[in-house]
Structure formats: structure tokens, C-alpha cells
């Protein structure tokens, strides 16, 4: 039986090798599978997550800003989603 683990990394810029600034981890194995490395951030950048066996599921596309909203700051823009499947 397999269960999914999901890792969100928010990176400093749109490139996968830029630094991690925020993260979230959701564990479908209820703790029976491996966790994240015991450091903060768990991966220095997105490539480090690939090297640890995570698969990239989604990366952010560049976007065109709306007129009048060119300079506003909002959610963390560079959200990369990774998954791995764990046999339990």
C-alpha cells in the first residue's frame, strides 16, 4: 500500500535553484514514513529536494500583472509542490 507525502517549498525567485524561504509538509503516512531533514529550512532550495528523492509536481508560471497592481506585494509567489510515494 502506498501513501503520498506532499512538500511545499516557497523559493526566493522563480528558479528551482533559488533559496527556500518557507515550507509546509503534509504526511499521508501518519508519521510512519520518513520525515523531513532535521534542519530549517529542510532543503536549501528546490534542487536539494530533488536530490533527496522528491518529485516536482507543480512549479509557478510567470504571470502578467494587472494594470494598477504592478507593484503590490501579496502571497509568496514562488510556490513549488513536490510529492513522494511511500510504501507502508
Amino acid at each position: 500500500m502506498h501513501r503520498q507525502q506532499v512538500l511545499y517549498l516557497w523559493l526566493a525567485e522563480g528558479a528551482l535553484d533559488t533559496g527556500t524561504i518557507a515550507w509546509a509538509f503534509h504526511d499521508g503516512t501518519k508519521g510512519t514514513g520518513p520525515g523531513l531533514p532535521d534542519c530549517e529550512p529542510p532543503f536549501a532550495n528546490g534542487v536539494a529536494a530533488l536530490e533527496d528523492g522528491w518529485f516536482l509536481l507543480q512549479s509557478p508560471a510567470p504571470y502578467v500583472t494587472q494594470p494598477g497592481a504592478e507593484h503590490g506585494a501579496s502571497y509568496l509567489p514562488n510556490e513549488f509542490v513536490f510529492v513522494r510515494s511511500i510504501e507502508i
Binding site: Y8, W10, A12, E13, T18, G19, T20, I21, A22, W23, A24, F25, E40, P41, H71, G72, A73, S74, Y75, L76, P77
Partner: protein
Amino acid sequence: MPAKDHRLTTAEMAEFVANGYLRFDALVPDVLNQQALAELRDLYPLKLGNAVKATGLNPDELGITKAKQDVQTPESLTPLSECYPPPSAIGEMLRLPQVHGIIESLAGTDPLFDHDFVHFIGANSPTGQHLHVDAVVDNRDPSFDIQLFYYPSEVKPGAGGTRFIPGSHLRFTRAEGVSRYQKILGEQHYHGSAGTVLIFHHGLWHAGQPNPSPEDRWMYKIRLNPTVPQIRLWNQDDFGALHNDPRDHTFAHARTDSVAQKLRKMQPWQKGHEARYEQMERAKLWRYLSGDQDFDVDYYHTRMERRTRANQEL
């Protein structure tokens, strides 16, 4: 440290604009902390009961202790000067010169009561909140409310005090949209001595945390709405020395002793080019607070505005 008249300095105001909060350790004397804590214990069932009732649930069925009959709380739109009249330790705390001076600097002498709440997390409690912004997503008006967080008792390191994200106050996000961030570089988890006060810009992302410690945790939060323009309400003694003109520009000539320099200082999560937009938002807020519509940090607004103006003059 605030000025002798207890109002904030220009340097502190610039820090507030950059980070979205200010911290004052052990600002409230211990005797008053003890009295306030006793009042908060009485106030808590009333505030919690009212909030539960508003959702259509019955506080009695949920086992919420009945509030004492004589506990009074202000209504929204009450001037701060009329909130918690004597004898009240909460009122006394709010009227302390060192607390009122901070409030006056940011929101004027007599802002309006928006709401308050008593946050209680019992010892060894797993209850916690997702990261959030209070109320709703804001418009682009640079005026702001303040939220005063008062800790009447010590919160030890590891006791799960308020989590907050310095520098997040100008991000214009929906209240629930930031819950996805479990950890952000540079986030803080409050701990400190009894009597400590944090002042937040209303937009700062924050969350109550589980309390794994053997001590109960209490915090009182009050939101205040300004009734006057928030322009140069603080102590002005250091304003002339720190306030810069738009020539303060990292890629030309940058001062190291100016408001702009304080606004350039980013948090660990504010990296890369994204930080430039943060800087622009901070500059806009300082324009409002200082009343100087030409103020800038690193020329981002100035070059566009001058271009536009030049074409309008054709």
C-alpha cells in the same frame, strides 16, 4: 526606547513601517500585571461566550464558564478614553503614559475601540491556530489600525507564544490565504517577561500556538482605529536628521543613517527581487506617515512618477 514624552521616535516609527510591529519588554509594572491577570480571568468567559453565541452555539452546552454579572466591556466605536473606566486594571494599563504614548504615536490621542479579546491557552494544550491575518483583506488606503498584544505573565521559551511574521503587514492577502505557510524563515515565536507589549500593524500575519508548557498562557489583544490622519503624531526630535529625500538611492548615493536605510532592511524571507516591491510598499506607508509625497527608497517610485509628470506637461 521611546522619547521622554513617551511617544515613539522617528527611528522607532521607521522600524514599525519596516517590520510591522514594535516590542516593549516588561513595559507594564508587575503589580498591575497581577491585577490585570485577575481581570482577564473574569473577562475571558464573557468574551468567549459572546463569540460562541454569535456563531449560533450555546456556551452552556459547550461547558463555557458563566461570566460574572458585573464584568463590563466597551462597544465598538467607543473612544479609548472611555474604555474600561476606573477602577479597572486593563484600563489602567491602557492609560499608562508609556503605553498611551505608543498608541498616540501611531493612532492619535483618542482612537476608537474596535474590539478586544482575551486569549487563553491552558497548560499542555495542543490547541493552535493556522497563520492568518485578522479581519478581511485590506484596501490600498495606507492608513492602518493598531493591535496591542499585552502579556500579563511571563511566557517562557518553548511555551508556544504568539507566532508572527515580521514584515508581512503590507502583503495584502486574504485572512485565510496564508494558512498554507507552516514555516517561514525569520518567523518569531513570542516569549518574554510579564508586562511585555507588542504593537502590530493590523496586517501582520500571526497565529496562536499550542502551549506545551506546564503554565497557562494569557494574552490580551485590543484593536484600535485612528480617528485622525496618522501624520507625524510621534515625537519629532529626530525627524529632521533621519527623514531623507528621494535622492537616497542604493545605486547612486545612499545614506546609511536615514529612514530609507531602515526601510531597506529585509527579513530573512524577503529575498531576491521580490524585496523591491516590499520596499515600494514601505515607502508608500512612510509617505503617508511623514506627509512627504516625494519620499522614496531607492528611487523606484520617483523615476516612474517623474516620467509620468513629464508627459503630462507636454
